[in-house]
């Protein structure tokens, strides 16, 4: 134990070398820029920087990559908040409340919330990295086909929670997303499904592409249909990137909930930041004392989503480092970097290479502070974007959507998909359908299909295999709670309020 503490301390000392500090600052800044541009995901940023780290010492190289990872996950929230364009799928849920805050001239507050909760989410996730890594890594091995199926189902239950206007319409949107998610090669027998003769659809509709269309391009159309407002927002604009003590206190429980969820989601294979942000958002909404604020710029919504997605970063490193199981694409790339450096993931990282590992951990902790500092400083400038007139934003966001969807595969076909989803998203938003539910279904659909069919294949078609493991049961219970909690919470709160009129009004809202 004492040895470990000593190693941890030494880790901080070596992480504080000049080169490493430069690596952290540079990595975070770069990550933020990559993250806030649509179409450039954290995985892409890390992958593109990977070759540059070959020539660096192992610890510095890993710190750069870790810094880009954290920075990019946070950076996605900036464009999500300011122009309703999630830079990465991990910030999809942030756009829901964050953009509403921007419309009210509170972009600075939203960015500050994102910054603050990302910082805490990332920092708290280091606790598990330091102290519980080998223990928690075992969780990743408990996640086989059946569990993945239930994880997908659990994720889908959030749709009921994120649907603000009509639950049935939210579920319809989700089901539509599920149908769309079956486009592409069949994951089990490899036959072509709904591909319209297009080879580029073999891996399905690209989630990022659909996300850019559904969130950003549709936003352009929504801006374009209204009379262009001339700097109307500027009057109420405040660029203060600070939170008051009350606000910090208000989001504290949300951050802690999101940290725990994000951390666990990070450990699970196949999940990742894009699911965590929705879970975080949903729980923030369910537990909020001021639920009526949701949909109209709730600070807790931003905090819930951002703390959760940054808590994924620390969590996702755990199975990668201890077992060599990368849970998502970013950690897969990071593992590539580790192997190139001649370091195989596994127990040796904590014994033979412990000095390097703990330097990396310390670097990861320090990166969070750099993220807070650079984020807070940079956001002041970024917030000015929200003062721009819609007339300037419309073409600029269109260009970003096109380049963003093009850059994913360097393919114009993806731009076509993006524009189609843009029109679809516009119509959906006009008619109170839920675009976030479609994105969620696109992410989760393939996970649950593969899980379900894989599990049935192993068991020879016996449905019982879905109910064997305790982990499955935990997820089943969570799913049931997830489905009914919006209804139950309503009932419960109405009992507390004891107001019959409110009762009727809420009932209408949930059913219509």
């Amino acid at each position: 134990m004492l040895d470990t503490l000593q190693l941890m301390g030494q880790g901080f000392i070596s992480a504080l070398s000049f080169v490493n500090i430069l690596a952290m600052a540079g990595g975070v800044a770069l990550g933020i820029i990559i993250g806030c541009l649509p179409g450039l995901s954290a995985a892409m940023g890390v992958a593109l920087m990977l070759p540059l780290t070959f020539s660096m010492p192992a610890d510095t190289g890993l710190i750069v990559l870790g810094a880009i990872y954290c920075g990019a996950i946070f950076g996605g929230s900036i464009s999500a908040i300011l122009i309703h364009t999630p830079g990465t799928p991990a910030s999809a849920a942030t756009a829901i409340e964050g953009y509403q805050m921007t419309l009210q001239g509170k972009a600075g507050k939203a960015l500050a919330t994102a910054c603050w909760s990302s910082f805490w989410g990332g920092l708290l996730s280091c606790i598990s990295l330091y102290f519980f890594a080998p223990l928690l890594a075992q969780l990743a091995l408990k996640f086989m086909s059946a569990e993945k199926f239930w994880l997908g189902i659990f994720g889908l239950t959030i749709i009921a929670g994120v649907s603000s206007k009509s639950i049935v319409k939210g579920l319809m949107s989700g089901a539509m997303g599920l149908v769309i998610s079956t486009i592409g090669l069949d994951p089990i027998d490899g036959t072509k499904r709904f591909m319209f003769g297009q080879a580029f659809l073999a891996e399905g509709i690209n989630t990022t592409c659909a996300l850019i269309g559904l969130f950003s391009m549709s936003q352009v159309f929504i801006l374009a249909e209204k009379e262009i407002k001339k700097r109307a927002k500027a009057a109420k604009f405040s660029d203060k990137i600070t939170l008051t003590r009350e606000e910090r206190r208000k989001i504290r429980p949300t951050i802690i909930r999101s940290w725990i969820m994000g951390n666990i989601i990070g450990i699970l294979p196949g999940a990742g930041a894009s699911i965590a942000c929705f879970l975080g958002y949903n729980s923030a909404k369910q537990f909020s004392k001021t639920k009526e604020e949701f949909g109209h710029g709730a600070i807790e919504g931003v905090a819930g989503s951002e703390a959760a997605n940054n808590a994924v970063t620390g969590g996702s490193l755990i199975p990668m480092l201890t077992l060599g199981i990368p849970g998502e694409s970013v950690t897969a790339v990071l593992m590539g970097g580790l192997i190139i450096q001649g370091l195989a993931p596994g127990p040796e990282l904590f014994t033979k290479h412990a000095a390097m590992t703990y330097t990396f951990f310390a670097g990861f902790v320090l990166v969070q502070f750099f993220m807070l500092a650079i984020g807070t400083l940079g956001c002041r400038g970024f917030a000015q974007i929200s003062r721009l007139s819609d007339a300037i934003l419309i073409p600029c966001v269109t260009v970003l959507c096109v380049i963003g969807s093009y850059a994913i595969h360097r393919n114009m076909s993806d731009v076509v998909v993006m524009i189609i989803f843009g029109v679809l998203g516009y119509l959906m938003r006009k008619f109170d359908l839920n675009t976030a539910a479609v994105v969620l279904a696109l992410i989760l659909g393939p996970i649950s299909e593969k899980g379900l069919r894989g599990a049935l294949r192993v068991s020879g078609g016996d449905i019982g295999c879905l109910f064997h493991s305790p982990v499955s049961w935990v997820l089943i219970i969570l799913s049931i709670v997830g489905i009914f909690s919006p209804f139950l919470m309503d009932k419960f709160e109405r009992k507390v309020a004891g107001d019959e009129n409110v009762d009727a009004a809420v009932q209408d809202e949930t059913l219509s």
Binding site: G26, L30, A47, F370, I374, L377, H409, R410, V458, G460
Partner: protein, 336 residues
């Protein structure tokens, strides 16, 4: 106090900007000596040399196994090619998007790319692309990875490959694969066919998830390549899909010597150009990449994966052989 804090923050920002600014600058700095080098180590072929940056298409995502090896090769090859090599990731469509783009590229030697066997062949068989093997001209082979039969290290049911076969004949075993009819599925099927047992496959979409499925106990065994298990102690190789024992694991028998599948099986990453390039271009790159793969600096950097240089003729033969093999799988190989 606040002032100091602001100062510190400002300093961080400046550092960040410096670091940002420094990175793009680093690349040209690294290229500078490379540009001078060709004078001293002129490539063997006299006839042709690229007059601008060379594009190498990788049909997979940045950070993928092929991408990493390609980038290392590109880094050291610049010295011998005499130009910057830009790796372009054109992923999607199980690789077919990238290969379509490569097949359609101008055959002027400025665009070349990586071809992954047998995934490339599968994409032709599955009709994902409109290209055939004739649309490409082989330059050389870069990496060859042999497939292995793997079980969990602590799985005491399977002491050796014969124990696995005996068990699999009695019980229905489960093997995870990296995708339906993907390379590791082909391997598993070839092994099972030769040993005469049936099994259940669960496609996982990629090798990482395939191994997770094995480690988590869902699958009993699986087939994966040598590089996938580099440094791992939690899995055990029972046999190799090779005609001779692998030098890096002399204790692991080949499937052939145990009386099962006796051909080589695995994956290869070849470097190819679009068909129609002149022989000079092929000769130029063949020599340049040969020199690169023999470069001690490259070998030090690439020690973790199996570099395997083959010349243009041998590579072309390999592509055809793999194509014939993959097409042959259509009949009678996969059971219902």
């Amino acid at each position: 106090m606040k002032k100091y804090l602001a100062l510190v923050l400002a300093l961080c920002m400046v550092l960040a900007l410096c670091a940002c600014g420094a990175k793009p600058a680093e690349a040209p700095a690294a290229e500078a000596p490379a540009a001078e080098a060709p004078a001293a180590e002129a490539p063997a072929a006299e006839g042709w040399a690229p007059d601008g940056p060379v594009t190498m298409i990788v049909a997979y995502k940045a950070g993928n196994g092929t991408d990493v090896t390609a980038r290392i090769l590109a880094q050291y090859a610049e010295k011998y090619v005499g130009q910057t090599i830009v790796i372009e990731n054109v992923d999607g469509g199980s690789g077919s998007i990238g290969w379509s783009q490569l097949a359609a590229a101008e055959p002027d030697g400025m665009t070349i790319g990586f071809m992954n066997l047998p995934n490339f062949n599968s994409s032709i068989v599955k009709e994902l692309g409109t290209y055939t093997t004739d649309d490409f001209a082989a330059i050389c082979n870069h990496v060859t990875e042999t497939s292995l039969v793997l079980v969990r290290a602590d799985d005491d049911r399977f002491a050796d490959i014969d124990a696995l076969v005996a068990y699999a004949k009695e019980n229905n075993t489960v093997a995870s694969t990296n995708g339906a009819q993907a390379s590791n599925h082909i391997g598993a099927q070839a092994f099972a066919n030769s040993a005469g047992f049936k099994y259940t496959d669960i496609p996982q979409g990629n090798t990482a998830d395939e191994l997770t499925s094995l480690l988590g106990g869902e699958a009993d065994w699986c087939v994966a390549k040598v590089a996938d298990i580099a440094g791992r102690t939690d899995v055990r190789a029972l046999a190799a899909f090779s005609t001779e024992r692998l030098p890096e694991m002399p204790d692991v028998p080949t499937l052939g010597e145990k009386g099962y599948y006796d051909q080589w099986l695995g994956s290869s990453r070849c470097i190819v150009a679009p068909a129609g390039v002149s022989a000079d271009v092929i000769a130029f790159y063949e020599a340049a990449f040969k020199a690169t793969m023999e470069d001690p600096d490259y070998q030090a950097a690439a020690s973790e994966f199996a570099t395997d240089y083959k010349d243009a003729a041998a590579t072309a033969a390999l592509i055809e052989q793999q194509q014939a093999f993959t097409e042959g799988l259509a009949e009678g190989f996969w059971y219902e």
